[in-house]
Symmetry: C2
Subunit: 350 residues, 2 copies
DNA sequence: GAGGTCAATGTAAGCGCTTACATATTTTCA
DNA sequence: TGAAAATATGTAAGCGCTTACATTGACCTC
């Protein structure tokens, strides 16, 4: 009951073809490909020559099926559309490549349901491990992953209160540091433009950081003007416009990331407001955009490349059965640039 | 000689487990999953319940092996690090998703050897089709793809002189249009900052476009100052600095893309040159960055999202055996913004 | 009511690989 | 020099699916 080979069909060379041509068994060919050390030089040469001649390349599905691993790691990022995740992912991929691991990337558009789908898809495709951004997701999906025995590394967040292994920075503390700087200049009317909280623990932590800093100064955090909006330049711009209609008007607007901040800066200028003369604006991430906008953005530098690289090493180890003992905390640092100044009418200013 | 099941091992439910639990054969379960119409309602319900109960999800490798297709399409882009390709890929993925196709993305860092590796990897992984950027690559690799019967769609380029199916725009004509605009303002000393030519037909085509426009004005294209450098803001900046040391100094610098142009604008300002008062600068692509820089960049708008979306549809059709008849030409349009003005000392200027 | 059609399901043969175990060959050293 | 140890290769059993073909039974049609 053999499947008919329609003449039209492509018939690629298989391991068996290579074996025949090289005059060895399929096992030997397989070994040449996977652990060449086990095969004698002469035999190996013969096999490799056959591989070349035939233009053989192994069938991934068969290999995955037989070996029960895929040398594949999956990553799901919220978006590819701006540079926030791109640099980290690029570094992640480069590092994985060194270990012969392939990366599969999907983007979830910041939607939890989409992300869950993608997690399932990646696992079904045999991802040996997964890189995810932030901790926020349903217990059910973590349970699923645990059942499947798929190691997961969380990045972009470091939160010692969560047991899961992660590599990242302390969003809350980093933002608190920036906010402290803002408050130290004398700003008292603070605006916050954040990403939407739902499903985004980083965004919440950053806002908490601002609130921490306010409390530390004896200010009431609830007096801060808060707008939640999806990350985009345009949304940042709109949020700033809205915020500037309030009274009292914030003299400093702290944004959840650089993309929002860039939009805010542009809108401020469009409204005829000087930055930082009339309003100070800060970002978070220090992506390329931060230096392109005029004036350059005061922001928090996140070691994206480093995070990506280290994440790759950790995850490769985890897949190999050497789970890291502890989460990794990376340091961020403040980039004080042109968009932050003293509030209008302050002593330093007059 | 059965493989021992070490007790420690995860043993996921298989199709057979589902079949047993539902009291049907594996074939029926398979049909429920792949072509539910063929199965009676009652049976199907029973099977689906079993799938739920067991938390079954199909093994990708086995499926690919047996079905000889993967519902996967691969794409290789030169870089993820800036936004040039991100928008198109995002749209590409969203559209593929509608057809139940998974996207695998790799980036080649603009290196041909890396790209060939990745092509082979993706094919080995069973990609049913491939999306590639530009035409430039070795005949050997095209031959390989043809042997394997893997359909390929080229994007980012439209060149009727090449037989391969593509979707894109006419880089040469688009750039010629922009250059004509520059020349019409009276610029005669032209600088060109391009990506490196090797392996990048788009870059070459764009420079040819500038030369076409010069010839059309009776100018000698070889008088243009040309610098080739990899795409990055920093490289754009360095190239501009270098160019400004020449004499005569260009009054307009046409850049191969927005990333280079943004770097050029920033360097011009750092050098104390007014843009466009002292030097005009143009880009290509119209990515977000183009509007963020001050003044906003004169550039060529490329319909990235549309290209991505249409590419997905075409490729899905090709994989299904309905190859498109012709390459698709998309229109670009000029975005005349702040960085382009008349040359210094021109009548309009004085 | 015999023969034919059609729909629903079952049977079982692979898909192309890896790897445990068996076998053959060479090396080592008491 | 011979037995044990190490090394190289072969044998063949799956890995978890899909699907061609076989089977079954319900329903028509003349």
């Amino acid at each position: 009951m053999s499947r008919k080979n329609k003449e039209s069909e492509h018939n690629l060379p298989t391991l068996a073809d290579v074996a025949t041509r090289a005059g060895v068994s399929t096992a030997t060919v397989s070994r040449c490909l996977n652990s060449p050390g086990q095969v004698q030089q002469g035999t190996r040469d013969r096999v490799m020559a056959a591989v070349q001649d035939l233009g053989y390349s192994p069938n991934f599905g068969a290999r995955a099926l037989a070996a029960r691993r895929t040398k594949t790691i999956g990553a799901i990022i919220p978006t590819m559309e701006n540079a926030i995740f791109a640099r980290a992912i690029q570094a992640f991929q480069e590092e994985l490549h060194k270990s012969g691991v392939t990366l599969l990337v999907s983007s979830s558009s910041y939607r939890q349901d989409v992300e869950e789908d993608q997690i399932r898809t990646l696992v079904a495709r045999g991802a040996d491990g997964l890189l995810l951004i932030g901790h926020d997701r349903s217990p059910a999906i973590y349970q699923f992953l645990a059942n499947r025995g798929v190691p997961v590394l969380i990045c972009w967040a470091y939160d010692p209160s969560v047991a899961r292994l992660s590599i990242g920075f302390d969003n809350r503390r980093a933002m608190a540091g920036l906010a402290a700087e803002v408050l130290a200049l004398g700003h008292r009317n603070i605006g916050i433009i954040s990403a939407e909280f739902e499903g985004n623990d980083r965004a919440r932590a950053r806002v908490s950081g601002v609130q921490d800093a306010m409390r530390a100064q004896g200010l009431d955090p609830t007096t801060a003007d808060l707008i939640e909006t999806p990350y985009s330049i345009e949304n940042g711009a709109n949020a700033l416009r809205e915020m500037m209609q309030n009274s009292p008007r914030p003299s400093a607007v702290i944004c959840g990331n650089d993309v929002l901040a860039v939009g805010a800066v542009q809108m401020a200028r469009a409204l005829g407001l000087a930055v930082p003369g009339d309003v100070s604006i800060t970002g978070f991430d220090d992506i390329e955009l931060a230096r392109v906008v005029d004036p350059p953005l005061t922001t928090v530098h996140v070691p994206h490349r480093d995070m990506g690289r280290q994440a790759a090493r950790l995850l490769v180890d985890m897949v190999a059965g050497h789970p890291a003992r502890d989460s990794v905390l990376l340091e961020t640092n403040l980039c004080l640039r042109g968009t932050l100044g003293p509030p209008p009418g302050s002593v330093a200013d007059s």
